[in-house]
């Protein structure tokens, strides 16, 4: 394993410390229990948004704490959901009285730990669960689909509504709408290496890719021979469109997300392929996001998220945001 690391056990703590120092103008880092929160206290009457999850997906979620997005983020160990006391402490720290909305990715560890955190927190709170990964069959009898890159969009869009005075209920409703309007699928070319493991999570041939991969290096739909970008992108978009069924000329946001180890040039090439395919199918792209936002450590690969946008979504997407990883308008 080759990483910038001193001791495996200190990896997260040291990284969080560095994150805190590099962005001390907008956030602060609490350790034991660990959470990242805004530097400034949440203003009275503003609903607090708290997300979190296993580490290894940076900049998600700590990089999204700040004006117009999250109030706090709870990082677990690498790929392990955070513990309830983190959520409880974060909620107690940020809640200004208007209540807390937890944004949770649909993994059973996350669900259970956030549930317990919410039970332990005495203030008003509610949760939304993202589950945008169309690689996975949905079903009410199973855990259902995974929550992946669309979580970034949910956090941005609901973050804006909360900043502008939306109530806990309104924030939840909007978050669920964004989640329902979004579909994501990813592909991996290489594995990631969990620091504690010291070796790659999975083996993959020099000419293979994992189609429909999760963001923890979990296996996806199938193992395939690598294909030209346009074929990969076409297959991903087929799965997403099948699922979202956008209307003719419906406005969308196209989000090409890097898994961490793929260069920007390739992500933009994927974006180009996706634009061409979507345009040929009469889907209108009105907003874009390209970059590494919801990663799997150093994994090479990418996911594509398509979000159907109405005016409310667009307005909140465009609103100013100031976090470590996403910033515009201020």
């Amino acid at each position: 394993m080759k990483k910038f690391i001193n001791k495996t056990d200190d990896f997260l703590k040291e990284s969080l410390n560095g994150f805190g120092k590099a962005h001390s103008d907008i956030i602060q880092v609490n350790l034991e229990p660990s959470f990242v929160s805004r530097k400034n206290k949440t203003k009275e009457g503003k609903v607090s948004l708290i997300s979190g999850g296993g580490s290894g997906h940076e900049p998600m979620h700590g990089g999204f704490v700040g004006h117009g997005m999250l109030d706090a983020a709870c990082p677990g160990f690498v790929f392990s959901a955070p513990a309830p006391d983190q959520m409880q402490a974060a909620a107690e720290h940020v809640d200004s009285g208007a209540g807390v909305l937890f944004i949770v990715k649909n993994y059973s560890g996350d669900i259970m730990n956030f549930q317990m955190g919410a039970e332990m927190y005495s203030g008003k709170n509610d949760s939304i669960v993202t589950n945008d990964d169309v690689a996975v069959e949905d079903s009410t009898f199973t855990t259902g689909r995974r929550g992946v890159a669309a979580t970034v969009l949910v956090e941005k869009i609901v973050g804006s509504l909360a900043e502008n005075g939306g109530s806990l209920e309104e924030c939840k409703t909007l978050g669920e709408k964004v989640n329902k309007n979004a579909g994501t699928m990813g592909v991996a070319f290489t594995s990631c290496t969990v620091p504690a493991a010291g070796k790659p999570t999975f083996d993959i041939g020099d000419d293979e890719m994992e189609f429909g991969v999760g963001i923890h290096g979990e296996p996806g739909r199938k193992r395939e021979k690598i294909q030209p970008s346009k074929t990969i992108v076409g297959n991903i978009l087929d799965a997403i469109l099948d699922n979202l069924k956008p209307e003719k000329n419906e406005k969308t946001l196209l989000f090409v997300n890097g898994m961490g180890g793929t260069p920007l040039t390739e992500l933009y090439l994927v974006y180009d392929d996706a634009c061409q395919i979507l345009q040929s199918k009469g889907v209108e792209i009105t907003r874009s996001l390209v970059g590494n936002y919801c990663t799997s450590l150093e994994m090479q690969g990418a996911s594509i998220t398509l979000l159907k946008c109405d005016e409310e979504i667009l307005k909140n997407w465009d609103a100013p945001v100031h976090t470590a990883a996403m910033r515009w308008g201020m």
Binding site: F77, A83, G109, N113, T143, A197
Partner: protein
């Protein structure tokens, strides 16, 4: 042979944790591989971290009343592990700590009751039943067996040998299941042919405790 009253003493708990740690470490690469096959690979580290944290509590809890000690363990497991296992095992210990009459002696029957209630709490937390390819495939049948032993006042040693057998069978039975809960559920058919990591670690834990009780 163990004195009835020594079940669930703090000494008992810590020494079991140490036994378990040894067994888990011996089987670490297998457990790691299982979660890499159908999950995200962290299960072994979660379990190892949890055991280490509990064992480190020895000094802190050794003179506490049992309920307090169990609660301290519960909070440590809950806050120190994370992931599905942290929530589930944390829930187990929270339930144990809440058991009534912990200031009285805990005999075998009471110990069974505590475990049965703990597993019930886990089942409620995770909403997974038998057949969903999780650790519950081991824990629920084991809990049912304990309840049978307790209710029938069966001979403990023989009962525990049956528990060992059930745990192993049920652990192996997860191999050919489709998963509907937990990370492996995202895999569909591809989960088949792999034992569930949580089922394997739970079975090892049960195996270790039972054998140690039997041999004392």
């Amino acid at each position: 042979m163990k004195k009835e009253t020594e079940f669930m003493s703090i000494n008992f708990l810590i020494s079991q944790a140490k036994n378990i740690q040894k067994v888990i470490d011996e089987n670490a690469s297998e457990i790691e591989a299982l979660d890499q096959n159908i999950g995200d690979g962290d299960h072994i580290f979660n379990i190892q971290r949890g055991l280490k944290l509990v064992i480190e509590l020895e000094g802190t809890i050794k003179d506490l009343p049992l309920a307090k000690a169990l609660n301290t363990i519960a909070m440590k497991v809950l806050s120190g592990i994370g992931g599905s296992s942290g929530a589930l095992f944390g829930t187990f210990f929270i339930s144990m700590a809440k058991s009534p009459d912990l200031d009285k002696d805990v005999n075998f029957s009471k110990a069974c009751e505590m475990i049965i209630d703990g597993v019930k709490a886990m089942k409620e937390r995770g909403k997974a039943d038998v057949g969903e390819k999780t650790m519950m495939d081991v824990l629920i049948p084991v809990s049912e067996k304990l309840s049978e032993i307790k209710n029938n006042n069966s001979e403990m040693k023989q009962g525990l040998n049956e528990v060992i057998k059930i745990a192993e069978d049920r652990m192996l039975s997860t191999k050919d299941m489709l998963a509907t809960k937990g990370r492996a559920s995202f895999l569909g058919e591809r989960a088949k042919g792999h034992i569930d990591p949580g089922a394997r670690s739970s079975q090892l834990i049960i195996d270790t405790i039972c054998k140690s009780v039997i041999n004392q």
